[in-house]
Amino acid sequence: MDRVSAHFPEAVVERYVDRAGGAWAVIHADSLPKVAAFLKNDAELEFKLFGSMDGVDRLHLAENDPRFEVIYILYSLKRREHVRFKVRVSEHKLVVPSLVPLFRGANWWERLTWDFYGIRFDGHPDLRRILLYEEFQGHPLRKDYALRDRQPLIPERPIKDIFRGPGTSGHS
């Protein structure tokens, strides 16, 4: 990340170290493709393995403006380490540039993030829901989506004496 800061000083908003000693960087959404391309292609870094990505809804955290975060984990087989960075997006402009042109592995992860948080990815070739069905309303991993909100495609039959999971009153 030192090299990223040196190359793109304007792209990095913030840098910190998490509780396990992993270094994080917060990147401007606009410079995300630029930074990711640098991480992937730089001869000394070669973070080519697309590890993971997901969204975070910070609604109930102390610093909740902007509300959403998208986290990215890449891995370098050359340096044998992970790199962790994230992008912050506000509720009003939920668009992040897509990394699919850079990493094909980003395709399904971006669909997952769209599915669960409603964050759109600009430039994604096929942005549709992946785990939920097309008729589903809303994005269930947002903190303001109720735990008990059910959207069955077929009406559910009432079942007696069944505890329907945590945080519930226990009735179906």
Partner: protein
């Protein structure tokens, strides 16, 4: 000719008109070759889970394939974010019920990193033993099922015999056969039963015998080799680009194993080799899994040999439940017990990404704590997810029959992919 006359007598046939065999070639069978879309699944005997594959075929060639997942989605993240850290453990078991302990311990490892906790040495050894036992059951099932779907029932039965033996040992250790919930934050639930280590060693010897049988039935088998060698090929560059890890990536020739490159628990003290393939095809993925099982057996033997005596969970009542005499006899014990059960472990605020090597690859956890007893965010990076995402890339343009061995050897697990 009598033949052409009889076809004319049947009148207009849209299916065969325009493709009538030319004169004198009645013996060439006419095969239809229009595009058709078939559904494999959501419940198909060869997909090992509920996944629907929309396959567009031209004859026997796959033109386009679109895997549709989510039939098993049960809100893993949302469920975890609404229960205490300890109560997440049963959910993590169910990500992959053939290697429950690995998922369990992987999650705990991330939570312990978040707390900044070092677990006792004996607990680390027991975690290694449990993980490797479950790596064996997972690979045995995968390899056995691959053999079964290539038409060999005997290797499957041998695999199941070894798996059941190991699962008996797991049952003796944890009290449950599949969903073990064996770990605890700061250590593990209980110590090894008396005489258990000897039983495990005998089981491993028997497993080795069964592995030799499976190896003999599959590795040189003409049908098996013909259907797996050179099918489902992916290059190392593509596999890395898609984010593959684990045996599927190592089969492409990439020497990458988190147990070696960033050792956790006591893996750095144990001697084992990383199995690496060459061609990235189904056959190599099978061979890598076979070799990994032999290495797992090696690891368990060493670990049982060198396991030290000592506590199996940290002695900190803010994290681990107090011993029962303390709970029943002292007010401090009652209070600690009550606080842990009702409020959960108070994990300091912060975030962490931590990964362990599960049976199918990197099992990563991104956890955020807001300082209360529940995870604020619990993201799981399931190893099967990127692997399944690459299936269209691998299989488009290939034969329909290649889909079955490919789907077998990438070992997609519905529970973790669909969260």
């Amino acid at each position: 000719m009598a033949n052409s006359h009889s076809i004319e007598a049947q009148g207009h046939n849209p299916d065969t008109d325009g493709s009538l065999p030319p004169e004198g070639s009645e013996l060439d069978a006419h095969l239809q070759s229009k595009h058709m879309v078939i559904n494999m699944g959501p419940s198909h005997p060869a997909t090992h889970g509920t996944v629907r594959l929309k396959v567009e075929l031209d004859g026997e060639t796959i033109v386009k394939i679109d895997p549709e997942i989510g039939f098993l989605h049960r809100g893993f993240q949302k469920s975890c974010e609404n229960v205490t850290w300890t109560q997440c453990l049963p959910y993590t078991d169910r990500l992959n019920y053939l290697s429950a302990m690995m998922n369990n311990f992987g999650f705990l490892n991330a939570v312990e990193k978040l707390i900044g906790l070092e677990i006792p040495e004996r607990a680390q050894y027991i975690r290694v033993i449990g993980s490797e036992l479950h790596r064996l059951t997972d690979h045995l099932t995968c390899v056995g099922a691959t053999g079964l779907e290539m038409g060999g029932f005997a290797p499957f039965l041998y695999g199941m015999e070894a798996r059941e033996l190991i699962q008996d040992r797991v049952t003796e250790l944890t009290g449950a056969r599949l969903t073990t919930t064996f770990g605890r934050v700061g250590g593990i639930n209980r110590d090894l039963p008396e005489g258990w280590a000897d039983k495990v060693l005998r089981t491993l010897t028997r497993t080795e015998e069964l592995l030799v049988e499976m190896d003999g039935l599959l590795t040189g088998n003409r049908i098996f080799v013909d259907r797996t060698k050179g099918t489902g090929v992916i290059t190392a560059e593509d596999a890395i680009d898609f984010g593959w890890t684990g045996p599927a990536l190592r089969a492409c020739g990439v020497d990458h194993d988190l147990r070696k490159v960033q050792p956790y628990w006591v893996y750095d003290r144990l001697d084992f080799d990383v199995a690496v393939g060459e061609h990235g095809d189904n056959y190599d993925r099978y061979l890598v899994r076979m070799e990994e099982m032999r290495q797992s057996i090696r690891i368990i033997r060493q670990a049982l040999d060198t396991i030290p005596a000592g506590p199996i969970i940290v002695d900190d009542w803010r994290i681990a439940l107090p011993p029962k005499p303390e709970v029943y006899g002292t007010i401090e014990g009652v209070m600690a017990h009550f606080k842990l059960v009702m409020e959960g472990i108070q994990v300091p605020p912060g975030e962490v990404y931590d990964a362990t090597e599960a049976s199918n690859g990197e099992l990563g956890w991104y956890l955020v704590s807001d300082g209360r007893g529940r995870p604020y965010k619990c993201h799981v990076r399931a190893p099967g997810f990127p692997v399944l995402a690459a299936v269209p890339h691998i299989i488009e343009g290939k034969m329909l029959a290649d889909l079955i061995p490919t789907f077998d050897t990438i070992n997609m697990i519905g529970g973790e992919v669909e969260q």
